[in-house]
């Protein structure tokens, strides 16, 4: 079934004097038109690098290879990185975590949005300006018309992120990648931005990849969730399944560590240990050193993604292992 985005066997690494750092290892997944995919993982899981790989914006120091990377049917794995540029600002758009540093400080906000329209959609300056104000209204910017001439430093964090979303929308993309769009914002503003993204996704029907470390954000927006750990996919499942019946011990531990406001006392649950260093990834399952349910076989064989049910894949040799209790 042809999807909007199909990635097969994507690996990204960094070669340095000290050795090779594995950042993404054999990642495969696909995305359908109009779908909302949430990508969850802690720092070091490779989720941001995955996002950059999709749009061809990996830093030059990183090397990438994939068996196949198909964006809207266009096979890009064999082409140079410049080939991605044709898709950017037209079919796929991306918004980033830090809206302050992601906007040009010496250019007016309206110009930065209109730029996409004049350069990528061939609009005249006047038409682009009009459309820019429409876009600013669409992202619920207060006083959109007067906002056009402001500079980024004159706006609050939430407003800057709205500008970023407007820039992304200007491209009329079929796929929007949002890399931690709310992490740098206040909690109340977070909710507003997420609501805006939900509304935009529903009204325009674009596909959305939402990357975050916050599982709560995922619950609101995503239809399908992909959990990443140390550069590999741990589990992919519909959002309900992830919360109700996660198969991977990491997913289960992640959910367990979210504090429940109803809990009156007790220590916060954590996952023992730390994410492995990219230079010395464990052979076999990368979560094994921290997994309370590991067996000897886990350290020996890297677990391939196995299909448990329709739309539910897990990268674990003992899925649902935590249900069986601890037996050495």
């Amino acid at each position: 079934m042809a999807g909007l985005l199909e990635i097969d066997g994507l690996s990204v690494w960094l070669t340095a004097a000290s050795g090779r750092s594995s950042i993404l290892d054999d990642v495969s997944f696909s995305l359908q038109p109009g779908e909302v995919l949430g990508v969850v993982g802690e720092s070091g899981s490779g989720k941001s690098v995955l996002a950059l790989s999709i749009v061809g914006l990996l830093p030059a120091a990183l090397s990438a290879r994939a068996r196949s990377l198909r964006l809207l049917g266009d096979e890009l794995s064999t082409r140079p990185r410049e080939a991605f540029r044709a898709h950017r600002g037209r079919d796929v758009a991306m918004i980033f975590q830090e809206p302050m540093t992601s906007l040009n400080p010496v250019m007016r906000v309206g110009t930065q949005i209109a730029e996409v329209l004049t350069w990528r959609r061939g609009m005249s300056q006047a038409a682009a300006n009009r459309r820019t104000i429409e876009l600013l209204e669409q992202v619920e910017m207060p006083q959109a018309a007067s906002c056009f001439g402001t500079y980024p430093h004159e706006l609050s964090g939430g407003m800057r992120q709205r500008v970023m979303i407007a820039i992304a929308l200007a491209a009329n993309p079929k796929l929007l990648i949002a890399d931690e769009p709310t992490t740098a914002l206040d909690v109340t503003v977070q909710a507003q931005i997420l609501r805006l993204l939900t509304h935009l996704q529903r009204s325009t029907g674009l596909s959305l990849i939402l990357i975050t470390h916050d599982i709560g954000v995922i619950a609101e927006l995503a239809e399908r969730v992909m959990v990443m750990y140390a550069g590999r996919i741990a589990e992919v499942a519909p959002v309900g399944t992830i919360f109700d019946a996660p198969a991977h011990p990491y997913t289960q531990a992640l959910l367990a560590s979210v504090p429940d406001i109803r809990q009156q006392r007790g220590r916060l649950a954590t996952i023992a240990g730390t994410v492995p260093d990219a230079l010395s990834m464990p052979s076999g399952c990368r979560f094994a050193p921290r997994c309370p349910h590991r067996r000897d076989v886990c350290a020996a064989t890297p677990p391939a993604l196995t299909v448990l049910a329709a739309g539910h894949e897990v990268g674990c040799l003992r899925p649902f292992g935590y249900l069986a209790g601890r037996v050495a």
Binding site: L57, E115, Y151
Partner: protein
Amino acid sequence: MLRFALKRILISVPVLGLVSLISFAIIWMVPGDPAAAFLEASASPEAVAALRHELGLDQPFYLQMLSWYGRILHGDLGESILLHRSVGTAILERLPVTLSLASLALAFAVLMGILAGVLAAMRHGKWTDQSIMTLALLGLSVPDFWLGIMLIFGFAVGLGWFPTGGYVSPSVSFVGWARCIVLPAFSLGAAQLGFISRMTRSAMLEVLGQDFIRTADAKGLPRSAVVVRHGIPNALVPIITVAGIVAGGLLGGALVIEQVFSLPGVGRLIIGAVLSRDFPVIQGSLLFIALVYLSVNIVVDLLYAVVDPRVRLG
């Protein structure tokens, strides 16, 4: 904006006061008596005394200082002992020559420097980058007057394309003016070009590593548009800073280049005065040049506000 400019000018006043004092006091660096230093060792004591009186050197120091400040506030820069002419007039006569030399050299250094720096940054690490930076470094390491002499030897004497010296006013003959200004402007600008291209390159490299460049790339803009529309405007603050410093270097360098190419500019006036101990000219021209440089600095500060909207608030 106007208030910003006025505030900026106001801040310079104390420095201006000190600058005037230094220009005035410089003649006291002469070991012994300034008047005696001007006249030859064989001069009679009466001649020395007469000169002292003429220069006002027989008055107590604070009175001399007051009369100095009084004069310059009226725009009177003194009178040359040697030429028996007003220093101010002498400077103004020669100013067009120096201005045309310095501004041409500045335009050359700034335009070529920025171009070279941006190019080197875009081709970072590759051969273009390395050769541009090597040339820039060479330019910085060559004495400007020596370069001028070598250029005269090669192009004026050897190939005969340019005159070996002298000045033709553009109102008399534009081609003539162009021919006699090209080599001096080039020698003067070459070192500064090296300076500006290095600074532009490092500013551009820093800017191109910023997040908003990634956003511009994410928009799918062609790379050249990303560099020119988003990169360069953000690198302008350090570039303008360097241009200001370069302007100062050019003012100094012009003095010497005028000697090499026999251009009748302010530089020749000053060098002549320095060698012959014509103190009023030295005092007056020091003050004048410092004033020019201070004005350049003010213009640079104003340009910051034009180029970077964040400065306008402060």
